[in-house]
Homo-oligomer: 415 residues x 2
């Protein structure tokens, strides 16, 4: 993409009403625009990051035989009454809105009930399970406050996956697999090192459950974590009891305390929703049984915001390669034909390039580049051309090297 | 994809509450699930079609320098008050919903105001225009009735593009280009022959505007069209006056009447929104001017539903190749290793294949295949193997031919 054609511009100052680092940097760099607290438009650069994160997740989920679909925001109350979650006293973050005829609808904050109801059309025999289905879909949550930028949204894109299993055993196996899949997703998006599988209290279906917590000062949670054993416990649940229940010896661990963001949660739902909505199958003996379920969520903007919280410095964002809006930021200071040639040959080699072809001072271009945070910067200047090529530098390093255009293509392709 | 792993199943009968052909066929074949009138979940097969349509549109729009972004559903009233569209008496299909603190929000039915407001951050000089931005985003419309399946949604995915131009002249040029782009999109999705650039009354910004109408009995509109001159007039506006205004001689045309669906609309907005929201730029003389705008919409499910209305027979859907959920339906009647081998080698050659590996009678498999409507069917049976290969047949033809597996790959790759 030519930067001269990108309609967004960077700004030096963060908006006054943004106190979170993620929203400040993402707004200044032109990735997002705030409509209201917790409600953000994703501008072209921001949408590119969202799509790269989705691609990483999609690949992992398709690999384990999950199928992508897309459910709706608008909800009729009947299926939610069956599970007991329609009442505003039970779920306090519903948005509700009336149809023309006065019927009250809800805007889905999650989709357990909806998908359970859909599966009644397709699951009737033990042969029909397991089913793994997921979506990238907009969730609506009427949060009282939303002050953490894109870490907590009133409207946000969520990946939610649901498993419909034969029984606890089959579900448990999948649940264990999802622990690995989630860790792989977080590793691939660049936050593996900071992310811990974390034990916490389990809600209504089991005594304990697991969540994925990523250490950052922007977090609203606190975890106790062991860096070497790569395990953590939500501080709220850190007790003698949890050690006993998991058969762990406290003395064998070296726990430290840190603020963290919950970037993913994986729940065993058991038969709660299948029972409430009547999702059953006939087993081999013709006996009617409830489907055994689980749900697995990742808030996409929250993941993106967490990455920004971790990977940034005083100059701006430093995107991990895997989720960067572009692979390469090509900065043309020479205003010569050569920049366009390199731009085109990189693109022909499958490299996503943002070419800064604007007529600005070098300092302004470098400042914008640091703020936007594309991991590799290539500068074409009179000086670099005199030295035989282009100057290549990583966003997170001060060192640079001169490469010939041919060597550059090889270098980038190998990354 | 293995059909044994696809969780949806076909059904012989259409749901009783669906009177439209598109919803009947798409539901029976497992593409969609109805949540309520005008609100549909897209199941895995359905989502694949949506994504293929999006890819066709995205490529066309990126080619003309438009940038993809994503705005939000939740809306604060202030910007809509500025344009005079917040009032329910002005816009009668708003969904509105209160925040916890009582503030009323709207669910966007379109995004002119929102994007105009965003552009105030980025457009200030004549050098900043033109800007072309688009999104695929969920629109909410509180329709009194919604009886046409996915042709008219209360919640639906829309592609909406907006141009921000220097003046009427620059906008008009882009508007003409968009006529071509839209016709190219409809041609690529398979409905070019049935789709007419149609003159109609122009709303508040100009005396006339253009829309794209596709001839089908499922349509709610009526057009007068000339098959040879490939032009149409909305019947509501078919008058001596429109002929005079466009300088056309009625006697030179041979107009017929037909029901049609409006699959796309292209509007000149002029300065209405830029003026209301204060989106201005300084021209070369330092004079403050209003940005000149247009908007361009395509409802994605409506386009998908229109395709189904046109391309189907008594057995089911007949997808155009470009938007089919899979390129090839491979039907294994021999239950031998060969089917898997062909499945894999087709996939390695970039062909999207649905392999019917289920243990069902041939008649059931063929009926399902006809209903789902993948354009090319390949049957592997004992008989075809005895004859030296596989049987290849188009969905919309009765003729078939036997091919060796090697010849098959070449044949498919050439399509």
């Amino acid at each position: 993409m030519l930067q001269s054609q990108l309609f967004t511009k960077t700004r030096k100052e963060a908006p006054k009403d943004e106190s979170s680092k993620n929203a400040q940097l993402l707004t200044r760099a032109g990735f997002i625009h705030k409509e209201m607290a917790g409600v953000y438009t994703f501008l072209p650069l921001g949408l590119r990051v969202i799509e790269r994160i989705k691609d990483i997740i999609r690949e992992e989920l398709n690999n384990i035989g999950a199928h992508e679909m897309k459910m709706t925001a608008l909800q009729q109350k009947d299926i939610w009454e069956k599970s007991g979650r329609w009442d505003d006293e039970v779920v306090d973050d519903w948005f509700k809105t009336p149809l023309k005829n006065g019927t009250e609808l809800g805007l889905a904050f999650t989709h357990e009930e909806v998908l359970t109801n859909i599966m009644k059309n397709y699951i009737s025999s033990y042969k029909d399970v397991p089913v793994y289905a997921y979506q990238f879909q907009t969730k609506f949550r009427n949060e009282l406050r939303a002050k953490s930028g894109i870490l907590r949204g009133r409207e946000f894109l969520m990946k939610d996956l649901y498993d419909f299993s034969l029984d606890k055993e089959e579900h448990d196996k999948f649940y264990e697999k999802m622990k690995e899949v989630y860790m792989s997703i977080f590793t691939k998006t660049g936050i593996g090192e900071q992310t811990y599988l974390t034990m916490s209290s389990g809600g209504s279906f089991s005594k304990y459950s697991f969540e994925f917590q990523t250490i950052t000062d922007a977090g609203e949670d606190i975890i106790m974590y062991d860096e070497n054993k790569k395990i953590a416990i939500n501080k709220d649940d850190y007790s003698e009891e949890i050690f006993d229940d998991f058969g762990l010896k406290k003395t064998e661990f070296n726990f430290k305390e840190a603020k963290s963001v919950e970037v993913g949660d994986i729940y065993t739902l058991g038969e709660k929703y299948s029972k409430a909505l009547g999702l059953t199958y006939k087993d081999e003996n013709g006996e009617e049984k409830n489907v055994y379920m689980g749900s697995y969520g990742i808030g996409i903007p929250r993941l993106m915001g967490t990455i920004v919280e971790i990977f940034s410095d005083e100059k701006g964002i430093i995107w991990p390669k895997s989720v960067a809006p572009f692979d390469v930021h090509l900065i043309d200071l020479a205003q010569q034909q050569q920049a366009k040639q390199i731009y085109e040959s990189l693109q022909e080699n499958g490299v996503d390039v943002l070419l800064d072809d604007r007529q600005l001072r070098p300092g302004e271009k470098f400042a914008d580049s640091d703020l936007i945070g594309i991991p590799i910067r290539i500068v074409i200047s009179k000086k670099s051309l005199d030295q035989g090529g282009v100057e290549v530098k990583n966003r997170n390093s001060e060192e640079s090297q001169i490469m010939s255009p041919q060597a550059l293509i090889e270098f980038i392709k190998e990354l």
